[in-house]
Amino acid sequence: EAGVTQSPTHLIKTRGQQATLRCSPISGHTSVYWYQQALGLGLQFLLWYDEGEERNRGNFPPRFSGRQFPNYSSELNVNALELEDSALYLCASSPWTGRIGYTFGSGTRLTVV
């Protein structure tokens, strides 16, 4: 069984540009979660998608957005990139309830220069 896959592995962008990160969940998982792991700040909850809808978002500005497609894969978009957006972005998936725990992808390392 394939795990959670994320692409690209690394992404370098210039300040002010937009970044698009992609995630494919485990087959059968309908929920996708996005986390930001910035140096010194730990893992911060960004967004939760389930059945194609945004269910909840963490304490991040609106320039962090995304969507979930009918096949449950997901995209995270970060607009107007700032230097402090440089971080590892992790995607996780779970079945309809997250109470059994998540399965994480390997992440996308975003560097803003």
Binding site: G3, S31, Y33, Y35, G42, L43, F45, L46, W48, D50, R55, N56, G58, L90, S94, W96, T97, G98, R99, I100, G101, Y102, T103, F104, G105, S106, G107
Partner: protein, 112 residues
Amino acid sequence: AQRVTQPEKLLSVFKGAPVELKCNYSYSGSPELFWYVQYSRQRLQLLLRHISRESIKGFTADLNKGETSFHLKKPFAQEEDSAMYYCALSGGSGGGADGLTFGKGTHLIIQP
């Protein structure tokens, strides 16, 4: 607001010694607690969850609601246990509505 505190950034113990990784949480309802582990160059993975009351790789964790703690323990550390450990809490009205709240993590080093 929910919060998870892991007081130790780094914990170093000798092989064969007992290990205890501390985790305290703040949450007004009934939380679900998890431990995640990240070995060198590997992805973050679920180690255990309190609802399962399971022992994984010799590790156990008991939820103490009175002390709001969920410490991770292992009686005899092994070198392969060296990794980054994260305690996490799931609150909200089911389905992980608020996402998982993670602690900052503890880097466990097992010395030979």
